[in-house]
Symmetry: C2
Subunit: 368 residues, 2 copies
């Protein structure tokens, strides 16, 4: 029997406070701790739980502290028999596991955890009960972790609306280096070019670079800790990017060469690199689940009469091409009575040219 | 007297078709041309104008063609006295200007242009009349450009809802290398790491890397042209990033050093780089206008009673700290009758700690 009825959140920053909010929304008793009294009272003020010592051993204690603090806090709490089981939310998993072993912690009642959620803003007042909804939440049980510990942590994840996912600690650290830590460094490097810009380039910043650099706003100290705690894996990921960057720089130099063949080779190299980026982006863009990851949008002009949505769907079906999703493109301020509208049809990348050709042969205006 | 009553759009891709849609919405006669008959009929089908030869010389012709095609198309159209004046929308400005001069074009009736707008999707069916609304649109008049040409182009920009901005061609190319072309390469390099990933890392991709790599989805051929046409400036921007990346790689290696002093120096270096990223991001994040660029959010717990929004504003005023904006944080599904809410107060970065301290001294729960 697992089941979480009482919980403690140790560390009421963004993640800890958000967990408290989710627990309270499910009527679970949540007790809050933080060494900063301002953070603690703020978390209590937004309704994340009570800022007091639990009256008895809680079902689960969530250590929402920096990576290097997980093992010391775990050790101290276990010595007081504070909770039935323990998890943490640190964004690296090898380091806390190794330190917990070295500190002689009880490894049966501990399971490492990492919710894949966050915001650029930090602190208890940026917390949201729905922060984890539909997001992966990795658990990294060791050989020592008892099954009931994993069950209780999975229950907590369910209460928060997350999707539990089990990985090896090393596999987790390699994956987050690729998906989060190395990208954070890249966003910082691009953003830092603007730290001393006089303004003319800054005036031209559009949605592209705004989205690209959004994560660079993350708190400096926190991210120095996170990246530093996963240095070997981040270094490997960045070294690969550095090698590719050197190739791009060489190609850009060659584009100015006198010899047409060298210019053409450089252009091919640049195109090949951008093409790999398009492929990689297709994998990143889709919601998890492979069926989505290789989709492409085909746009089709539709109207209320002869070229209607139902007929489009019938014609797509007639082609024998599986359609992942159809949506109508809504343009703000557009006259809804206007005869022209656009439908976006998502199909497998390889089927897109075939669908465009077939729809055109049936008389549709199609593009994709 | 400038004033645009008739216009031609040459090239009905995303940008050209979007301009046609904006022109038509203002009742301006728009004539469309494209060497691809499918693109042309699609642009006409969505209502971007008529796919026919204008009956008389138009007020302005917009060349929405790739950078290297601007000068040849301009030369051909001028020989037929096609338009009173000409502009283009190519994302580099030195190359078309130099090629137009070399081709012996009439430089008085031509002004280079570049709207800072786009989407990851391309083609006429991705077009939107509001694509340019509130976005900067650079004009790069040469010493030869007649004032009436600039006026007419500025009118066109106004019709499209854009904000006209004048720059030197070289200054423009340097700026877009920093804000768009080099960032595009960085997004591609990060995304390309996932092109051959087996899936475990892809499963952990969250909103951070999705936003960061969004622009990497851009059409490969188009972006090879764009980046290739601005190779020297892109190379300079990327070389700076490459130098910083090498420093980060060195610091990450040093974090594993035996010597504590070397580890500490590496940590300082990493933190310094991330700090520069935070500063740069603050400049990028704000809407144009310097007053916004150095703002920081202070969050405050508010309620309907004693700790109300009006009282918060009065107390902020009492501190003598200028407030750029106040907004209430809305959480989806939150019970609106709940006593707790959070207000986000935007103030100058340097004033944030002072405001937090002052509000706390008045009894508020504040964070920022």
């Amino acid at each position: 029997m697992s089941g979480v009825r009482t919980a403690a959140v140790v560390g009421t920053g963004l993640i800890g406070t958000s967990i408290g909010l989710a627990l309270r929304r499910h009527g679970i008793h949540a007790y809050l701790q933080d060494r900063d009294p301002e953070a603690l009272s703020a978390a209590q003020a937004v309704g994340a739980g009570r800022a007091q010592e639990p009256p008895a051993r809680v079902d689960i204690a969530v250590l929402a502290v920096p990576p290097a603090m997980v093992a010391p806090v775990l050790s101290a709490l276990q010595q007081r028999d504070f909770a039935r089981c323990y998890t943490d939310v640190a964004s690296v998993k090898l380091l806390p596991q190794a330190q917990a072993e070295a500190a002689g912690c009880d490894l049966g009642s501990y399971v490492g955890g990492h919710p894949m959620a966050g915001r650029e803003r930090s602190g208890p007042l940026a917390a949201r009960a729905d922060l984890f909804r539909g997001r992966p939440w990795v658990l990294t049980p060791s050989a020592h972790t008892e099954p009931s510990t994993v069950d209780t942590a999975a229950d907590l994840i369910g209460v928060c609306g997350g999707e539990a996912l089990t990985m090896e600690p090393a596999e987790h650290d390699r994956a987050v280096a690729m998906t989060s830590h190395a990208p954070h460094v890249m966003a910082s490097l691009v953003a830092s070019r603007f730290a001393e810009d006089s303004g003319e380039a800054t005036d031209l910043c559009g949605p592209g670079i705004r989205d690209l650099t959004r994560i660079a706003a993350g708190e400096r100290e926190l991210w120095t800790d996170i990246i530093g705690s996963n240095a070997p894996a981040v270094r490997r990921a960045l070294a690969g990017i550095g090698t590719d960057l050197a190739a791009v720089l060489a190609a850009l130099g060659e584009l100015g060469a006198d010899c047409a063949e060298r210019r053409e080779a450089a252009r091919t190299e640049l195109g090949r690199m951008l093409g790999r980026g398009v492929s990689g982006r297709q994998r990143i863009a889709g919601p998890s689940g492979n069926s989505w990851q290789d989709c492409r949008t085909v746009s089709v002009v539709v109207d209320q009469g002869d070229r209607s949505m139902p007929r489009l769907l019938a014609d797509a079906d007639r082609c024998g091409i599986g359609v992942a999703e159809v949506r109508l493109e809504q343009e703000p301020g557009r006259d809804v009575r206007a005869p022209e509208g656009r439908a976006d049809v998502l199909v497998a990348v390889k089927s897109a040219p075939e669908l465009v050709a077939a729809l055109r042969s049936y008389g549709w205006v199609a593009w994709g």
